[in-house]
């Protein structure tokens, strides 16, 4: 109904392979970006209706952006390359802690060699990206088992990573610069002289990170590497027979996915939490990311964003609505109700559309393009 595609023909392959080949989609994207980059900051700085308090920014938009980025990373590994991972939480943690160490100066005393490696504190941006790189290296390390083990068995290998790093960041004080309380504070967010402090600035910083990395991820996924991942996911024997090296494909998937998750972890710690301890990146976080990817839509970058939005907003809705309707419920029953509704919603969604929201939306879009015809 909304689409008027007659006359939009493709004269070059670049046009034909564009992310949004249809003009109506491009307009929708432009509007969305306009709201995100200009609308929200303006409204927030003038405290207009939705942004009268910082609640919307702090509790919803900021975590949504960072978790969406982490979901994109997870989707690359689980959705595009078909390798089930329950270790996303750990890779976020690695990203966060290594960024923290790099930002506060690294000192590795190699006693038996008689000297120590000391790296001066790096600027925040560098440490976030390098943190991501460290996560990528860990990803590759824990990706090696995926060459021999497949499917649910692989979930356990990534679970090993999850528990190992949970333990490491809790028990090995070196990571937290021997902080007594075990929790760590984020360094000052100084980007080339600009200090990021207020919620709007934090929001814009995250928005920039997310947009750039989402575009890069989308390019990778559309390109040859993306096709290799999907080939490995769909039928790895056939993929190998047409010349795809399973080692290269799987490990790049682990590396890219962990890099993005690592950066998201660093942002989560530095920009959103401010101060954190390992519990922020526990197994629940991994499961949450896996939910977002599956409910949002496996193998779809947009699906990761939708999944993140759903998993984040749903619990908030669940406890806002009862109070809205004036039902006097004790906090305990609310949490129990929340568990039940959340669980049944997940089952319902998986039954209704196993490929998640992204597939529902693309079916809807197809229907609109063919309106009023059924096929």
């Amino acid at each position: 109904m909304l689409y008027r595609e007659a006359g939009q023909f493709k004269a070059t392959y670049a046009e034909d392979m564009a992310i949004f080949p249809i003009r109506q989609d491009r307009i929708a994207l432009a509007v969305l970006l306009g709201i995100a980059f200009i609308g929200v900051p303006l409204l927030a700085s003038f405290r207009i209706w939705p942004f009268r308090t910082d609640y919307l920014l702090w509790a919803i938009l900021l975590p949504f952006l960072i978790l969406a980025l982490a979901a994109v990373g997870t989707n690359i590994l689980v959705g595009y390359c078909g390798q089930i991972s329950l270790g996303s939480g750990a890779f976020m943690a690695i990203g966060a802690y290594s960024a923290y160490k790099l930002a506060t100066g690294v000192h590795i005393p190699l006693a038996w060699l008689g000297f120590a490696i000391a790296i001066p504190p790096l600027p925040v941006l560098a440490s976030i990206l390098l943190g991501g790189l460290m996560a990528a290296c860990a990803g590759i390390l824990f990706g090696i088992p995926s060459l021999r083990i497949k499917g649910l068995y692989l979930a356990v290998a990534t679970l090993a990573a999850q528990f190992f790093f949970d333990w490491a960041f809790l028990r090995l004080p070196w990571f937290t610069n021997y902080a007594p309380s075990g929790s760590v504070n984020a360094p000052e967010l100084d980007f080339f002289g600009m200090i990021v402090r207020t919620p709007v600035e934090r929001y814009l910083l995250c928005l920039l990170f997310v947009t750039v990395m989402a575009v890069l991820a989308k390019n990778l996924v559309r390109g040859n590497l993306g096709r290799q991942w999907m080939a490995i996911r769909d039928m790895d024997i056939a993929a190998e027979l047409i010349g795809i090296r399973p080692l290269y494909a799987k490990l790049t998937a682990f590396a890219v996915s962990s890099f993005i998750i690592g950066v998201a972890g660093a942002l989560w710690a530095f920009v959103y939490l401010g101060s954190w301890e390992p519990l922020a990146f526990s197994i629940d976080r991994s499961l949450e990311l896996l939910f977002m990817v599956i409910i949002g839509g496996l193998g779809s970058i947009m699906g990761s964003f939708i999944g993140a939005a759903f998993i984040l907003i749903m619990p908030i809705m669940l406890n806002v609505i009862p109070t809205e309707l004036g039902l006097p419920l004790s906090t305990q029953t609310i949490t129990h109700l929340q568990f039940i509704i959340f669980g049944s919603l997940i089952c319902y969604l998986l039954i209704k559309e196993p490929h998640g929201f992204a597939r529902l939306i693309s079916i809807g879009k197809e229907k609109l393009r063919l309106w009023p015809f059924p096929y």
């Binding site: 595609e5 007659a6 309106w371 009023p372 015809f373 059924p374």
Partner: protein, 656 residues
């Protein structure tokens, strides 16, 4: 707005376009997944090299070059290059069987043939023994032709390349080409179009350059066509309609011609390119409507109800909104909602949403079909024309459109009605005569230089618009004198999705009978939904439930006829459904799918007699040619159904 003026031949027009619209796209072709495009400047360079190449192959002025194939850039360029050398291109129907092809090539004495692909090359080679004067075959798609002997077979691409190098090497060749362009003048024969001819062998209509260009100047000005327009070239090359709209008018107005990827992706390509000017014979609009309705049958009930509701709204207000006549505010609002919800999406899916002007011609269009498209906002207009007039005889102006007339005379066209009721005309696009056939030319012209159309018609008193009744030869009288116009009846019948083709009989008989062909797509879909089992087309055509359904449609036609004073008497008394589809390969239809009435009357004589001797079924066995040329016979017992006649409205009132 570009005109012809001193540019009286196509090569000169090409040079003008290169100067005026050098960077504008002249031609687009969907190939290898994307739309490749060439600007006027690029086309001119290619034509110049191609002409040089053809010259070196020995193509001399006045010789003819046949063009066989579907709408491909290289085939249109062959025509332009030939005209640059003042030779005459002769396009031939690509789906013509070998014998028809042989007749046209021999009659036109073609020394060169431009064939599209291996299939056409094989067809030409199979009849080359009957073509002594043919020395070279050039082809567009090299696929599968590797193994052929390349003494007489050359790729068009190679000719262009050879011409390009030759032009670079010898400047004299360049001057020869320029000289032949300068020497060209309006009186040269620009093209010979062989008519499908409902009766007898095809005739070669000669059209001079001035004929084509002057006619095209008038029509481009009439519909304000500019170089910004886009046309989809999808109709057979040899049909006057395609040659006029895609080739001639493209050169005159400078607009862009788009060739589809292949014959079975036309609908998708039309949707992609979004043409602004569109010409189609009525059967294409019919097919579109049928498929549209069949698809809607399977939509969700709410969508179906919404769709039919807004179609009724369109029927009430569509015409007035399109022609700007006053419409009540509520009507205008509900129509605007309909436009957003149904009409625009409908046109968008059909690829017609950017069409500014659409014409239907070549055959009379059913009034309801015509009204349907206009009601959803498509500026569809009728044109009446013939190959002999190089298409336009009359065409409806934007403001004054009436469903049952074909409009006033086209610009600079003089029309008169002979005492026999036959329409005669003189127009700038008039043909010079039939190639090598003075006898037929004399028959077709009147002593004082008017062309005889062979159609009967009269000018409507109120609107001064021409109203075509039927083929002059076919308009007859029933035994009791009431007028009987078979074409008019048949168009009304064909509006219904289930009826694909209809032939009516009644001339000098007591009452009117009809032989019908059901539409395999629509009826098969109906059968599937009502789980009616059938093995073959023949079984479906003979099915009693199908007869009942078609009977309802025929009754509806009779009711609408009852309302018309002139034709009330010509209602259909009895009808039967043919056991096989009428097919051009069996000679029952022309290449442009027009019914060959006399041939069918002889072939199915036993059925016609059964219709008129009151029998309730009749046996028939006919010889059929299959796709690969083998012959076979089909025998069937066809049932006949009687209808009641609806008395004229007045008398009905009195009787009730």
């Amino acid at each position: 707005m570009a005109g012809g003026g001193s540019y009286d031949t196509f090569p000169k027009l090409l040079l003008r376009n290169t100067a005026q619209f050098g960077t504008r796209p002249a031609l687009r072709h969907k190939d290898l997944g994307i739309w490749q495009s060439w600007t006027w400047a690029e086309v001119a360079e290619i034509i110049r090299s191609y002409a040089a190449g053809l010259h070196r192959l020995g193509l001399r002025p006045g010789e003819t070059i046949a063009v066989v194939g579907s709408n491909r850039p290289k085939l249109y360029w062959t025509m332009m290059a030939a005209q640059t050398l003042r030779a005459i291109p002769v396009p031939v129907y690509s789906d013509a069987v070998a014998d028809e092809l042989a007749f046209v090539l021999a009659h036109a004495e073609a020394t060169l043939v431009a064939a599209q692909d291996q299939e056409q090359v094989d067809k030409v080679l199979s009849v080359s023994d009957r073509l002594p004067q043919l020395n070279k075959i050039v082809y567009d798609e090299p696929r599968g032709l590797d193994g052929y002997d390349h003494s007489r077979l050359i790729a068009i691409g190679d000719i262009i390349e050879d011409g390009r190098t030759a032009l670079a090497a010898e400047p004299t060749l360049g001057e020869q080409i320029d000289e032949s362009i300068r020497a060209g003048n309006g009186s040269d024969i620009a093209v010979i179009l062989y008519t499908s001819g409902t009766t007898g062998a095809p005739k070669g209509v000669m059209l001079s350059a001035r004929n084509c260009i002057d006619a095209a100047i008038d029509t481009t000005r009439f519909d304000r066509l500019t170089d910004k327009d886009v046309v989809l070239a999808y109709l057979p090359l040899a049909w006057a309609g395609d040659h006029y709209v895609s080739y001639v008018q493209g050169l005159v107005a400078g607009y862009c011609m788009a060739c589809p990827e292949s014959s079975d992706t036309i609908e998708q390509d039309r949707h992609e390119i979004g043409p602004t000017f569109y010409l189609a014979p009525p059967r294409i609009f019919e097919a579109m409507l049928t498929r549209l309705m069949v698809r809607m049958e399977d939509a969700a009930p709410i969508k179906r109800r919404l769709f039919s509701y807004f179609l009724d709204v369109a029927q009430r207000y569509g015409e007035q909104v399109l022609t700007g006549r006053p419409v009540p505010l509520s009507g205008r609002l509900i129509y605007a909602l309909g436009r957003w919800l149904v009409y625009e999406p409908l046109k968008n899916v059909l690829g017609l949403s950017q069409v500014r002007v659409a014409y239907t011609g070549g055959e009379a269009i059913g009034p309801d079909l015509f009204a349907f498209y206009r009601s959803i906002g498509l500026n569809l207009k009728q044109l009446y024309g013939q190959t002999e007039a190089f298409l336009y005889v009359t065409c409806q102006p934007d403001g004054e459109i009436y469903p049952d007339t074909v409009g006033p005379p086209a610009p600079n066209v003089d029309i008169r009605i002979a005492e026999t009721g036959e329409v005669q005309f003189r127009s700038p696009g008039m043909f010079l005569g039939y190639f090598k056939d003075q006898g037929k030319t004399a028959d077709a012209m009147t002593s004082d230089g008017y062309v005889r159309t062979g159609d009967a018609g009269f000018f409507d008193e109120k609107t001064r618009h021409l109203k075509i009744i039927d083929r002059a030869k076919d308009v007859g009288r029933l035994a009791d004198g009431t007028m009987f116009a078979p074409k008019y009846l048949e168009n009304k019948l064909k509006f219904y999705p289930n009826i694909k083709e209809a032939i009516t009989f009644g001339d000098s008989r007591e009452f009117v009978c009809a032989m019908l062909n059901i539409d395999p797509v629509a009826v098969a879909n109906w059968a599937e939904r009502n789980n009616v089992a059938y093995g073959s087309y023949q079984e479906l055509a003979g099915h009693p439930l199908v007869y009942d359904m078609v009977a309802k449609d025929v009754a509806a036609v009779n009711r609408s006829l009852a309302g018309e004073t002139v034709l009330a008497g010509a209602q259909i008394r009895r009808f039967l459904i043919l056991h096989k589809e009428l097919d051009a390969d069996d000679g029952e239809l022309t290449r442009t799918q027009k019914v060959r009435r006399r041939f069918i009357a002889e072939r199915y004589a036993s059925l016609v007699t059964a219709l008129y001797n009151g029998a309730h079924d009749a046996d028939i066995s006919t010889e059929v040619t299959f796709e690969d040329g083998r012959k076979g016979t089909i025998a069937a017992r066809v049932k006949i159904r009687d209808m009641q006649i609806v008395g004229p409205a007045k008398s009905l009132g009195r009787a009730a």
